[in-house]
Symmetry: C2
Subunit: 239 residues, 2 copies
Amino acid sequence: MMDEAAAQQAFRSALVIEGAESLAAIEAEVRAFAAPLGYDRFVLFSASATQDEVVERIYWVEGDWFGDGESVDAETYVRRCPVTRHILEAREPFFWTKTIAKEGDLYKIVRHPRGQGVHGLQIPVFGRLGLEGAMSLGGERIDASQRARLALGLIATMAFFSARRLLEAAVEAVGPLSDREREVLAWTAAGRRQVEIAATLGLSERTVENHLRRIRKRLGVATTAQAIRVAIRNGEIAG
Amino acid sequence: MMDEAAAQQAFRSALVIEGAESLAAIEAEVRAFAAPLGYDRFVLFSASATQDEVVERIYWVEGDWFGDGESVDAETYVRRCPVTRHILEAREPFFWTKTIAKEGDLYKIVRHPRGQGVHGLQIPVFGRLGLEGAMSLGGERIDASQRARLALGLIATMAFFSARRLLEAAVEAVGPLSDREREVLAWTAAGRRQVEIAATLGLSERTVENHLRRIRKRLGVATTAQAIRVAIRNGEIAG
DNA sequence: CTTTCGTTGAGGGAAATCCCTCATTTCGCC
DNA sequence: GGCGAAATGAGGGATTTCCCTCAACGAAAG
């Protein structure tokens, strides 16, 4: 059970993670903090609520998630795990339990995991565009206290943003849209009007309008509404 | 400066706030936790990047935010404060400083507030729909350490969700769309204009327009472009 | 050093959307 | 039978978006 020192350690770890300069450093810190609480399986990934594929990109996967002898790879496992899909409806971190039944694995969202099997904590990470990522931690004898939930929530959120900062920086500029265009479109998808976006970004209405026209042209669509869908499909903006 | 006991207290307070049954209880807990850190001014409100008004509803305002003798009410103050608007661009909690210059108050976003004037910490709160609220804390001699930032971030996030739970009883009833509405929206997402959809479905332009308005209302969004994203997110239409 | 590209901004006008209210019909339900 | 919700449609006006062209500036690329 988390004590005073652990509470202090949570903030210390969060700061270390925030300033981390490599994914390995993040992993090490998370591992070190979570191990005493009984967690020894980790998954960290970016996500979006876009239809089928919840999981966008997996940053880190570690530990014995599948029962031994399973032949599925980590990626497939994460993507099809029902617990992963549940973050679509989740508004906050939640515990889950996997029990092995005769018909196969049975996953359940629970308030207080106990008993046999693998238990875990799934932490959705929200940002300006809604669901942006998540972290899942698991183990067989975990600290499932409310305090652990809060502390791991803090750690996981920091880990996600920090990992994304490190990993997505190099990969940026993939799509045909420029940064500015993506920004304008993201705000449009968020429901803001041209004049509002202009105010927010410190531009003239004209410029925002010009950006949007350019966006439509680039995406080869007729209307802005369609541009939203195409952009989401292409991963240009978050779903 | 936050010590071990304070770290422990942060989690304890967060849990108290999570389980609070009245706004007063939340306020008391936040006050109690923040006071030792030098914070004695508070604002808690729901916000949205999808409306013209950033601030939607103010849950709690307390403390001497304006210099004495000011005649503006709290609401007006919060709504027009430049720091408040900055949460639109923020991705994480940030410190700010208000210095009193001859030409009026000068607000600045800073990393380490110091010196004369009122300092504060603004904490944006994100949820499934992106920016959903924020909390601002201020004082004249505040603990602006990184650890305090994390702890107050935790407290503020919890305070917001808890306050909203109490005050916005049956909000967020994102009702499902009717078949016809879904059909109209699907065509819209496909890039068709209202008049084209009317022709395709054998309706009048008016009806298509009325359907779209109803859709926006149901999804609780401001523009059709936003409706596309929200509908995709909810699985109403294909992404 | 020239060209390209991204970003910014504008004029002028056409087209489309959005907003309010009101009304009719159909359909399932108690 | 009456009641509410969905679907349909309209009037009339206010906003907003969209389209075309033109132009300047800086940075990066050739």
